[in-house]
């Protein structure tokens, strides 16, 4: 009955955490996950989000067992 939460890259370092699990109760959306995981900071428009490894918006619904991730803009590939 939990939601798995991940943070990556500069966000992971700034928040000082990478993985955590939250009880699913009272969580309906990705925004709710953020609010529960990072209560002292509003969700920035710069932050990208995914649910079960697919990009998602903040209002995307979240269910028990989902994996939700937050991360900065991606910078792979070449120069």
């Amino acid at each position: 009955m939990t939601i798995r939460v991940k943070f990556f890259a500069s966000l992971r370092e700034r928040l000082g955490r990478d993985d955590l699990e939250l009880p699913a109760e009272g969580i309906a959306t990705v925004a709710d996950v953020w609010a529960r995981a990072v209560p002292d900071e509003p969700l920035s428009g710069q932050v990208l989000m995914s649910v079960n490894m697919e990009y998602a918006q903040a209002d995307r619904s979240v269910r028990d067992g989902d994996e939700v991730a937050f991360f900065p803009p991606v910078t792979g590939g070449a120069a």
Partner: protein
């Protein structure tokens, strides 16, 4: 494998030489290839090394989806993506993209699509070490 994420250094030409594209070999008229390398300079600063973080699982999924989009849109015979992660040094290959097709336009356009979309959609993050300090690359350069 048509999509590969590797912590080990890879040799793009050896990778290509060892790979047999799908489809009838005698029907393939064109291969368009792109290789991205780590440079020792970025935004005017000397870069000593780099750490490439990724989201295991989501990365492979994003690359596979990109590849399927390109294959279907340009009716490619095949496409291949290899991307390095972990600790990199200047001159190391970062990414290899390949597109095989009957005709050159399809291969060239698909190759360009793959490298551009990869930069915007695949969950990789670069952290540069500049001598005495580190910094996260905030944005990809436009070109």
């Amino acid at each position: 494998m048509t999509v590969r994420v590797t912590t080990e250094p890879f040799d793009p030409y050896a990778e290509l030489a060892a790979y047999t594209p799908r489809g009838e070999a005698a029907g393939i008229g064109a291969a368009a290839l792109f290789i991205g390398y780590m440079r020792d300079v970025n935004e005017g600063d000397a870069v000593a090394s780099m750490e490439l973080e990724h989201y295991p699982g989501m990365t492979e999924r994003a690359l596979e989806k990109l590849r399927e989009e390109a294959v279907s849109r340009w009716r490619l015979d095949d496409a291949l993506i290899v991307h390095r992660v972990g600790a990199l040094s200047p001159t190391d290959p970062i990414v290899l993209v390949a597109a095989w097709s009957a005709h050159r336009n399809a291969a060239l356009e698909a190759c360009r699509f793959l490298i551009e979309e990869l930069k915007h959609r695949a969950p990789f993050w670069k952290k540069e070490r500049l001598g005495d300090r580190e910094r996260w690359v905030e944005r990809n350069t436009p070109g």
